[in-house]
Point group: D2
Chain length 287, copies 4
C-alpha cells in the first residue's frame, strides 16, 4: 500500500483556497490521489478532504503540519487535521450483552475490511467474553453498580486502559451505559454510538417499544458521535426498514439488529478512512 | 364491476370467529373474493377484512348490518363497518398554496385509479384555483384571519358545504391550517393529513428546517388520520429518502415534495379501498 | 416453548377450505396460534399456513398427516407439508473463501436467532476453517479440480456426509461452485443460494463487474432456491443499495457484501420458520 | 436570478487542471458558485462541473468557448460543453396513452420546479390531448401504422416540428414507440426515456408481466438516454419498490407508475440543471 497523507480542513470560503492547497502539494511533488470539497453556502464555509502520495513528497511527515499552519493557517483561518494512512487507528469496543454489532465489526476486521487495531474490548458484563476469546482480543469487565456508586472509579480504570493501549477512538457497540462527560471530552468526535432508532425520533430507552406504541410504519437506526447531550451528537449514518402492524416489539428488535450492525459498521468505516468532518453538530461525509 | 360488500371488523380473539363469519357468508350464497385477518397477540384482539360478491347473496343490502349485529354482535363483542363497492366515497380536498399533492391526487382520479367522487376543493387562498379549474372541480375559498377571529365562522361554512356535498372523508393535501376539534370529531378517522416529516421526528412547523438543523441523513413523510393531538393520529403510511450534507433546506423541500405526494396518495388509496382498520391510535393495513 | 404443528398447504381454491381446516383443528382441541392464507386469483390456487398448539390436541403427532390426507387430500386436491417446531432443521453450510455470510449466519445461530442445528460446514478450500473452529463446528474440505475430473467423487462424499448428518437443508453461503443436478434433486427447494446481483439482472459470474460496466445506479442481492437452471430458481428475498458513478468494482463488492449477508439470513430465517411455500417457480412468503 | 455560465468538461487526468481552470475563471473576475469534480481511476479520466457568475466576468459570453478551446483544449485534450443559465432548455414531450409521467412533469413545470420551455407535446394517439389542453400546450398527433409504412414520413414531420420549435431535448414520457436511428443521432444524449423495469432486468416489452412471471420481490424503473441499442443507453436514475407474492401484474403496473414518474422527473431535473456528463455509455451525475 502506497503511503499517503490525508488532510481534512475547513475555513471560511474564499476564492483561491483549492488552487493554493493543490499547488502546494503538487509543487512539493506530492501526487494527489483524492480530492473532494464542499461549500456550505448557508454558513459560507469551505470543507475539503485531500490525499496525496508521500513517496516523492519533499516535506518530511513531521513538518507538514507546521508548513500548512504557517503558510495558510492565519491567512485562511484554517482548521485542519492531518493523518497518515500508515498510522492505524486504535479502536476500543464497548459492549454490553448483545453480540450482533460486536460480531459484525470483528468479522470485518478479520476479513481485512477495516485498517485498524483493536487492542481491547470493554464491558460491564461477562456475557460476551466468549466472542472476544474467539477472536483473541483482551476482554475487560468492570461492573457498574445500579446506584452508580462506583462509576467514577470504573471510568478511571477504563481511561487508564485506553491510555495504556493508546486508543484513538471508541465504538459503543450497543453499550447500554451513559458515558461520563469527562470521557466524552477526552475523545471529542471520537466516540461512535449506535442508537436503535431513527433519531431524533425515540430518544432514550427502549426505542423499539416506543416505535411499537406509536404505530410507525418504518423503523431506523442512527450512528452518531457522542456528545454530552443524550442521543444528540452529530449524525454519521442512518438507515431504515419497513415494518407493518404485524410486527411485535420482539420482531422489531430482530429487524432492528440488522439495521444497527450495518449502520454502525458503515459509520466506523467512514471514521477510519478519515472521511468525516464535523462542524456545528453536523457531519460532512466525503464519498 | 361485480358488486361486493366489504366487512371490516374487530373483536376479542376467540376460536371460531373466522369459521362462523365465512360460513355465514357462504351459506347465504355470497362468494368470498377477499379475506385477510390479523391477530394482535399483545392485546388479544382479532381483526378481519372480508369481501364477497352480492349477486346471489340472499340477504338484502340494507339488512346485512342488522343480521351481523344480531347473530355475532354481542356474542363476539364485535365492532364492524360494512361498505358496498357500489357506493363511492366522496372526498373533499383541503389545500393551501402548494400544488404537488393536489395535482397528484387529481391526476390519479382522472386516470381512474381512485374509485371516488371529488365534489369540492376547499382552500384559504386563491392560489390553486387554476388547478381546480383545469379539472373542472368547484373551488371554495375562505380566508382565515391571522388572529383566528373568523375561524369558527369559516369552519361553520365549511361544515355546511361538507354536509351539502355529502362528503365522507377529507384529505388535507398540504393544508397548512389547524383543524378544529369539532370538525375532527365529525370525521373520526376520516381526515387524512400529510405531514412533511418522518413522524414522530419533527412534529409541528417547518420540519425540513428542523431536519436540516439536526443534520439527519434521511428525511421522510407521514400520512396519518387527524386526531385532536397535533401530528399524533394513527399513522397510515410513511416513506423516506436519503439526503446528504450537501442538501439545503430548499433542496430538502423539493425532495420532500416527491415523498409527500406519493405517501399521501398511497394512504388515500388504502382508505378508499376500505383496507384500513384503526385500533388504539394505530392502523391495521390490509394488503 | 409450547410445542406446535405447522401445516403448509395449497390446493385449487374452493369455498369452505378455511372453514373445514380450522374446524378440524379446533374440534380436536388444537389451539390455533397462527393463520395466514393467500389466494392466487390468476391461477385459482389457495395457499395457507396454519400453526396450532399440540398440548391438548387429540390426534397423535404421527397420525396427523394421515388424517389430513384421508379427510381432505382427495376432496380438495390438497398438497401439504406438516412440520413440528420441536424438530429442528439441520443446516449444512457450503462456503468458499469469503467469510461475511458465514459469520453472519453463525453469529445469529450463536445468539439464538435461528432454531436449527449446524452439523457441518463444507468447502472446497481451507480458507475458512478458522471460522468453523471459532464456533466449534466440523469443517470438511473437498477440493474440486479445475477440470471437474473429481467432481462426481466429491459430490458423492458430500452426499454421504449430508446423509450421515441427517441434513435437511443446505445453504450456499457464497459457495462459488455449480451444484450437480443429482444433489439439487435430492434437496428440492431445500438448497438456498445467495446471488450477488438483483436477479434476473447479471446472471452468472462477476455480477458486480457487470453492474459496473453497465453503469447501474442501484445494486442488489438475491436469495433463491437452487434449481437445475442457473440463478433461475424461486426467489425468496431481494434487497438493494444505491450506488454512484464514484463506485468502483471493488467498492461495489464491499457494499454488496452487506446486502448479501442480510438477504441470505432473512431467507434462511423464513425457511427455518416454515414460512415459505413454493409454487410454479415462485415463492409465497407468509409474514 | 444571477446569470451564470456552466462548464462541463472531461479530459485525461493530469495534475494542475483544477488549478488552471479555477485560476482562469477567478483571474477574469468570475465568481465560482459551484465546483464538483471526479476522477475515474480505472480509465484515468477527469470530469468537472464548474459554474460561475457572469456579472463582472471579463470575457464576453460568445468568446468564452473560444478562449477555453485555445488555452486548454489541445494541452489537456479537453472535451467540454458550455451553458448559460439564462438560456432555457426547450423540451418536447412524446407521450402515448398513459398520463402519469406527463402530469407529473407538467405539474412541476407549472410549479416552477423546472427552468424550461415546453413548446410541444407529440403523440401517436389522441388520448392525452385533454391534458395538453389543461396546460395550454400545443399537442400534435401523428399516427404510426402498425406496419410502420408511414414511420419515415411521421418522423420527418416530427423532426420538422422539433426544428421549428428549436427543441433542445426530448423526453419520452411512456411513449411506446421505437425511435429511429436518425432521430437518435440528431439528439445525442438528449433523448431521455423511462423504462418500466430495473434495467438491465426485463428489457423490452411488458416488463411488469416479466417481473410477475419471474417472481421477483422488488420492481424498479430506469431513466436513461436513448441510444440505438434498445434499453441499453446510459442510465441516469433508477429506483425500486418492494412487492410481494400478493401483487398481480395489474398491481405491479400501479406501483410501477409511481416509480416511473418520480424517476423520470429526477432525470429530467438533472439534465436541465446540466449536472449530467456522459462517458463510455455511463453517466457521471454531479450533486
Amino acid at each position: 500500500m502506497e503511503q499517503t497523507a490525508i488532510l481534512l480542513l475547513h475555513c471560511p470560503d474564499k476564492q483561491g483556497i483549492i488552487t493554493e492547497i493543490t499547488k502546494f502539494i503538487t509543487d512539493n511533488k506530492g501526487n494527489i490521489v483524492y480530492l473532494d470539497q464542499y461549500v456550505d453556502k448557508v454558513d459560507g464555509m469551505f470543507f475539503m478532504r485531500i490525499e496525496w502520495e508521500l513517496k516523492e513528497f519533499l516535506i518530511p511527515n513531521d513538518k507538514i503540519s507546521e508548513y500548512i499552519t504557517t503558510l495558510y493557517g492565519q491567512r485562511y483561518e484554517l482548521h485542519f487535521n492531518l493523518y497518515f494512512n500508515s498510522v492505524k487507528p486504535r479502536m476500543a469496543l464497548f459492549v454490553s450483552k448483545m453480540s450482533h454489532c460486536l460480531y459484525d465489526l470483528l468479522a470485518r476486521y478479520k476479513a481485512g475490511e477495516l485498517n485498524i487495531d483493536i487492542p481491547c474490548i470493554v464491558s460491564n458484563h461477562e456475557d460476551l467474553r466468549y466472542v472476544a476469546e474467539q477472536f483473541g482480543i483482551p476482554y475487560y469487565v468492570w461492573s457498574i453498580k445500579k446506584d452508580w456508586s462506583n462509576k467514577a472509579e470504573v471510568e478511571a480504570a477504563e481511561m487508564e486502559l485506553l491510555r495504556k493501549e493508546r486508543v484513538t477512538f471508541i465504538v459503543l457497540a450497543r453499550y447500554m451505559q451513559i458515558i461520563s462527560e469527562e470521557m466524552i471530552k477526552s475523545f471529542p468526535n471520537r466516540i461512535i454510538n449506535i442508537h436503535h432508532s431513527f433519531l431524533p425520533a425515540f430518544i432514550g430507552a427502549k426505542p423499539y417499544h416506543q416505535a411499537y406504541e406509536r404505530g410507525v410504519k418504518i423503523i431506523g437506526a442512527t450512528s452518531h458521535y457522542v456528545t454530552t447531550e443524550l442521543d444528540a451528537g452529530p449524525i454519521i449514518e442512518q438507515d431504515v426498514v419497513r415494518i407493518t402492524h404485524k410486527d411485535t416489539p420482539e420482531s422489531l428488535v430482530l429487524k432492528g439488529k440488522d439495521l444497527e450492525k450495518i449502520v454502525l459498521s458503515r459509520a466506523v468505516k467512514k471514521h477510519v478512512e478519515r472521511k468525516i468532518l464535523t462542524y456545528k453538530n453536523k457531519t460532512i461525509i466525503f464519498s
